[in-house]
Symmetry: C2
DNA sequence: GTCTATACACCGATAGAC
DNA sequence: GTCTATCGGTGTATAGAC
């Protein structure tokens, strides 16, 4: 049964995302990717002629799209700022497997400095921070303070994901998401 | 002038630390390490017969020792809890180059799961959290809450380091260190 | 203690059959 | 669209001269 896709695009990207999150860019060898996806090297190159870097770009782009649709979009939608933040928190919990997954922005940001992927990572994180800052401003917070709280919120999420990965306990991550609306709107921890 | 050390142990470990922080374990190739340290492969194996894994262990062990001497030790010393936390914050600022360096615990925690290095990383982070929780308890905070604040503090440091690396702005990291005494003792952000 | 030279596995990537 | 087979390059690691 060749001639047909052995694996659907969505499923393939899911597996790729998993490998990159677990091992980072350099640690995600084509051997590992091949084993995880069930596709041989040549088949991977058929889908991604640009090789590993194209796979990483595709994974990050899809993550961007998912987040915009499910987290950042609703953040700018109707409703109380606090409720919109709660919606984002729920989406983030799903996205990060309740704290069990690493963040691609962390995994991809080690190593290189001047390449395309790093720039993509930076722009994704900036978009994320900006989107949060915007809704915080709508809650009546000054531009400067909103920006600070947004940066801190993203940092806490990143940090609790690192802690979860290292000590194998997702409690801090869950706490952070639960407290997110209060921390952003009222400045409470 | 062979027969003598081309580079002192301390300097060598400094360079190794730098490479591992920048590139993570898998990204730190012997070629890069060789270029950074100025030692050829064979010379590196003379100093570290166990190869790259031994280099990583040595780097992490030395980081542990530095932190215990300069940050975690003073945390259990004399003085007001708040002042001791300030001392730790100063040491951490130095350790992380005011937010410009990545954390080894983050860099080493991607990839493997069941190996020696991962266990070392986990025990280092647990020791760090425990040391902070202890001083917070001394400030009159319940065991459970102290533990939570300690986890959150470490997470914020990790997270702001990630954010600093990605967007190239260390402001959030510096803010976190400045606010650390208040956050841990009073629960203020 | 450092070096050059080398071994061999694995890396990312490609050619061409089906 | 997937596969087997293979390429040149780089990876970690070692032998042996000085």
């Amino acid at each position: 049964m060749p001639r047909v896709s052995a694996i659907r695009d969505e499923e393939l990207l899911d597996r790729l995302t998993d490998v990159f999150r677990r091992h980072g860019y350099e640690g995600a060898s084509l051997t590992r990717i091949s084993e995880t996806t069930g596709l041989k090297r040549a088949s991977l190159y058929h889908r991604f002629p640009g090789g590993k870097s194209e796979m990483a770009e595709a994974v990050l782009t899809r993550a961007d799209e998912w987040l915009i649709a499910n987290a950042l979009g609703p953040l700018q939608g109707p409703g109380e700022p606090r409720d919109r933040i709660r919606t984002m928190a729920r989406a983030l919990s799903q996205f990060y497997g309740a704290g069990q997954h690493s963040c691609l922005l962390d995994a991809f940001s080690l190593g290189g400095k001047e390449n395309e992927l790093q720039r993509h990572v930076e722009s994704s994180m900036r978009a994320w921070i900006d989107a949060i800052a915007k809704v915080v401003r709508e809650a009546g917070v000054s531009r400067q303070l909103a920006r600070r709280r947004a940066e801190d919120a993203v940092a806490r999420i990143q940090g609790t994901l690192v802690v979860s990965r290292v000590i194998g306990d997702t409690a801090a991550f869950k706490r952070t998401l639960r407290d997110l609306p209060g921390a952003l709107v009222d400045g409470e921890t």
